[in-house]
């Protein structure tokens, strides 16, 4: 009964996906448009490239720093745990 339910659910899902959502994929392929349009932006392209890549590495750096701070907390916790275990053994 359970298998039957699961299979029918998957079937319904796939069916509904094909009927209602597949057109989106086709649509995406047809979506051709104006593409490039010269903006009024006066800032140099080089500056923007540099800014974009700086932002990229900055965000990644923040993530790494967060990992590092978590690691520090973890290490402190492990130390505390070891002390506690030693106390327990004594």
């Amino acid at each position: 009964m359970n298998i039957f339910k699961t299979i029918s659910a998957i079937f319904a899902w796939v069916f509904a996906w094909v009927v209602f959502c597949l057109p989106a994929t086709v649509l995406a392929q047809n979506a051709t448009g104006q593409g490039w349009r010269e903006g009024q932006e006066q800032i140099q392209g080089d500056t923007m490239v540099v800014a974009a890549y700086m932002a990229l590495w900055l965000i990644l750096l923040l993530f790494v720093l967060r990992i590092a701070s978590r690691q520090r907390t973890l290490k402190a916790d492990i130390l505390e745990l070891k002390k506690k275990i030693q106390k327990e053994e004594q």
Partner: protein, 228 residues
């Protein structure tokens, strides 16, 4: 066959229980209706009343009201169950979890629809919104509300005991509900006769697809998630 009738009976029993309690206490309907009423008043002051552009922002007002009011309903939906541990009692009975979930979602659906019956005519009245295709408007509200109820009920059941539930619930459900809002606003815009490039049937089918898929997904997930 017997199984199906018993599930339907369980569904009916839970719904009847919810409706009776709601009829006696009006715990959910009053806050929802009052809140949406206030929202409508706020909206009428928040937008410059330009009668020529009412078709552009009318659908948005309707759907924001529906979305916010349904969130208020979701927050209250399981409060009664939480207060006296009733949901766990319900889960302990031999009733199928699917029936419990479906009944809860149907209850929320009915309350939200009731709220819409009060508010949407009021919006149409206050903003002097012309509605050339009332059937389309009703269809979009019914299908869209079904989507809101399915997702909302699933997460309000899951977050029943969570800290900061009132904040978390919209945080979690709004991104998932965005397609419903997009489709609902589009269909409603067509119903009030705004200039939109597409036809209504595509967006109504889209809403139907959303309800179908999430009906299956939420039913299966409720069973899985409630286990832990």
């Amino acid at each position: 066959m017997h199984e199906l009738t018993s599930i339907l009976r369980q569904f009916a029993v839970i719904i009847r229980k919810d409706l009776t309690m709601e009829f006696r206490t009006r715990d959910i309907l009053y806050p929802m209706a009052l809140f949406s009423l206030l929202l409508v008043v706020v909206f009428s002051f928040a937008f410059l009343s330009d009668p020529t552009r009412v078709r552009d922002y009318g659908p948005g007002i309707i759907w924001v009201t529906v979305l916010f009011a349904s969130t208020v309903g979701q927050n209250r939906l399981f409060d009664r169950e939480r207060e006296n541990g009733c949901l766990w009692a319900m889960l302990l009975t031999p009733a199928s979890r699917g029936a419990i979930f479906a009944a809860k979602a149907a209850g929320h659906f009915m309350f939200t629809l009731f709220m819409e019956v009060l508010t949407v005519p009021l919006i149409i009245l206050f903003f002097d919104l012309p509605v050339p295709h009332p059937a389309t408007l009703v269809a979009s509200l019914v299908l869209g509300t079904m989507g809101l109820s399915l997702i909302g009920t699933l997460f309000s059941a899951m977050l029943m005991n969570a800290r900061m539930k009132e904040v978390l619930l919209p945080l979690v459900t709004f991104p998932i509900l965005m397609p419903v809002i997009i489709a609902g606003v589009k269909v409603t815009a067509l119903a009030v006769g705004a200039q939109v490039a597409e036809d209504a049937s595509m967006w109504l089918k889209f809403l139907l697809g959303f309800d179908m898929i999430f009906g299956v997904v939420t039913l299966l997930l409720f069973d899985r998630m409630i286990r832990s």
